[in-house]
Assembly symmetry: C2
Homo-oligomer: 79 residues x 2
């Protein structure tokens, strides 16, 4: 089973990497870019068959390790 976790900085938290990309896109001549946010995506291959158990486990992983919930939000998708 595969879980995909997307970790993004919360709205209002400064995102210097996103800003750097926005600036670079402008320099390269790409117009119409109103904003850029960069985050992490983590794909986790898990043993077992139970989707609900897998989701709960990945949620615990996010809370303990994968995301800093003070400044980041996460989304979990189980495939």
């Amino acid at each position: 089973m595969k879980a995909i976790v997307k970790v993004m900085l919360k709205e209002g938290v400064l995102d210097p990497q996103g800003e750097a990309i926005r600036h670079a896109l402008g320099t390269l001549g790409f117009g119409g870019v109103e904003g850029v946010r960069q985050g992490k995506v983590i794909e986790i291959a898990l043993a077992g068959e139970d989707r609900e158990k897998a989701r709960a486990k990945v949620e615990a992983m996010c809370e303990k390790l994968l995301a800093n919930t003070v400044i980041e939000r996460y989304e979990i998708e189980v495939e």
Copy 2:
């Protein structure tokens, strides 16, 4: 309009960040983790209404800046 770009290392390319996460999850007592890959996700807010044009523009951004296509693959989603 919002485009979401997911950039992952290609299969077979060593992913030390993913390995570090896998190791840390083991240390924290999470069993059944068969593999971890880490990548980037980039959310781009774009002016304009034409989804096909937006997708083509973001594809050009990926080729020129956002991904290193020698070792990375990317997926584009336009919302």
